[in-house]
């Protein structure tokens, strides 16, 4: 019991990193997702296939493999170390965010794509009829509707990303899972640490879940 109380401050401190990783990856991931979703719904075959294979590869391989390829794999390539890419790839922090962003980007692109695809044709025709050009149609009609459609599935993706950040502990980062593991391996008391760390994750999951519910209510039409 006292281990649970003792470890709480260390775990809460590490939670900051977890939250940072989650929010940053989701933030950048949205842009990546929208980008590839547009490519997928567009008419250009070449871009369509790029987007298709991007999504296929990043959703068909484990996140752990992606993190390792980016951190350990790219770190061994000589010319990368000499280039400007090294600014990002040198630090495990940015490597992790890069890997997480690419991964959530792929899943998000699927969510947005299906949201774009299911927009009622009638609404798009009405927009054309009103004389709105392509860009306006996109930003003023398609995007808002797609966002609203995506909310439930995207909420799920946010929770998956939160869990995904636990993999940062495999590349030296001391996030919530990393610190939890450290405490477990030095005190040999996994159950207590699991309960505390697990509860922190569940609280964050709960917050995300309710936040999405709130947005759904707010933006319903």
């Amino acid at each position: 019991m006292d281990l649970m109380i003792e470890s709480l401050p260390k775990l809460l401190n590490a939670t900051k990193l977890t939250i940072e990783l989650t929010l940053l990856s989701l933030f950048f991931g949205i842009f990546v997702g929208i980008f590839f979703a547009i490519l997928r719904t567009g008419k250009n075959k070449f871009f369509y296939y790029i987007a298709y294979y991007y999504s296929y590869i990043l959703r068909g391989t484990p996140l752990l493999v992606q993190v390792f390829v980016i951190y350990f794999g790219l770190g061994q390539v000589e010319w990368i170390r000499e280039s400007f890419l090294w600014i990002v790839l040198k630090e495990p922090y940015s490597c992790a965010i890069l890997a997480f962003t690419l991964n959530t980007g792929a899943y998000s692109s699927e969510i947005f794509r299906s949201a774009f695809d299911t927009i009622n044709e009638g609404i798009l025709e009405a927009a054309k009829g009103l004389g709105l050009n392509k860009i306006n149609t996109f930003f003023k009609i398609k995007l808002p509707i797609a966002i609203r459609q995506s909310l439930p599935a995207y909420g799920n993706e946010m929770i998956l990303m939160l869990k995904g950040t636990s993999l940062a502990s495999t590349v030296t980062l001391l996030d919530l899972t990393g610190v939890a593991k450290h405490i477990i391996s030095t005190t040999f008391r996994p159950v207590e640490v699991f309960i505390v760390a697990g509860s922190i994750y569940l609280i964050m999951t709960f917050i995300i879940h309710n936040f999405i519910k709130y947005l759904e209510k707010k933006y319903s039409y």
């Binding site: 391989t61 390539v77 994750y201």
Partner: protein, 230 residues
């Protein structure tokens, strides 16, 4: 390419066996998950509030907590837990709760949480008429569940089960932290020995894609088969 050669100098054979191991653990895990899902889905569908609650705890916890944490719980705690029970019976030695079991159980419990939701959703989406007709015909609950509801549920659940399988398959990569030699672990060993992480981790990605591809084909075939007559 010589790195992948079969035999003493190449890693081809090690990676081949590692792939089989990945399949073995994933299969074991998903089956464990199905057993758990059958239990907890029925809890969630039951009229007894306490059972509902227990079911919800299970799905919430094991879909909400990171897989690594669950794996560490069983890896560091597993042997200890099993041995604690054994000590009560007087056995004082080391019980090797081996990496395979630890891995299969941890991923199995997580997989089960997802499967529970799939089973529950599938049962709930079966036309209420089926239940009513069975009651009217006087068939007992146990029997009609087994002969009427479950076959239909399996058909409806199939697409989502294919998703759960993908998740389970990819989650097994995390068992590498416990030392079980599946794809990720073997790639880690090879990468360390040859100092060529880029090649081996990329190849690991290829292996997973291959397994994913095969799985999709398999599930498509299964869906076609079970959808006959609809």
């Amino acid at each position: 390419m010589e790195l992948l050669a079969y035999g003493e100098t190449g890693w081809g054979d090690e990676l081949f066996f590692a792939t089989l191991m990945t399949l073995a653990v994933s299969s074991a895990a998903i089956i464990i998950g199905f057993f758990l899902a059958a239990i907890f889905a029925s809890f969630k569908l039951s009229k007894i509030k306490t059972l509902n609650l227990i079911g919800s705890f299970y799905t919430t916890i094991f879909r909400g907590v990171p897989e690594l944490l669950v794996i560490y719980l069983f890896f560091f705690g597993g042997s200890g837990a099993v041995m604690y029970v054994a000590r009560i019976f007087g056995y004082d030695g080391y019980i090797e709760v081996n990496a395979f079991l630890t891995g299969a159980i941890s991923i199995g419990i997580i997989s089960g949480a997802y499967s529970t939701e799939v089973f529950r959703g599938a049962v709930q989406s079966i036309d209420k008429g089926q239940f009513e007709a069975s009651e009217v015909l006087g068939i007992q609950k146990k029997i009609y569940y087994y002969k009427i509801i479950i076959p239909q549920m399996l058909r409806l659940a199939l697409p989502n089960i294919s998703n759960v399988w993908q998740i389970t398959l990819k989650d097994t990569s995390l068992i590498s932290v416990t030392g079980l030699v599946e794809i990720m672990r073997q790639s880690y060993i090879a990468a360390g020995y040859t100092r060529d992480p880029l090649f081996f981790y990329s190849f690991a990605a290829v292996l997973y894609l291959f397994l994913t591809f095969l799985s999709m084909k398999l599930f498509n075939k299964l869906e076609q088969h079970y959808n006959k007559g609809y």
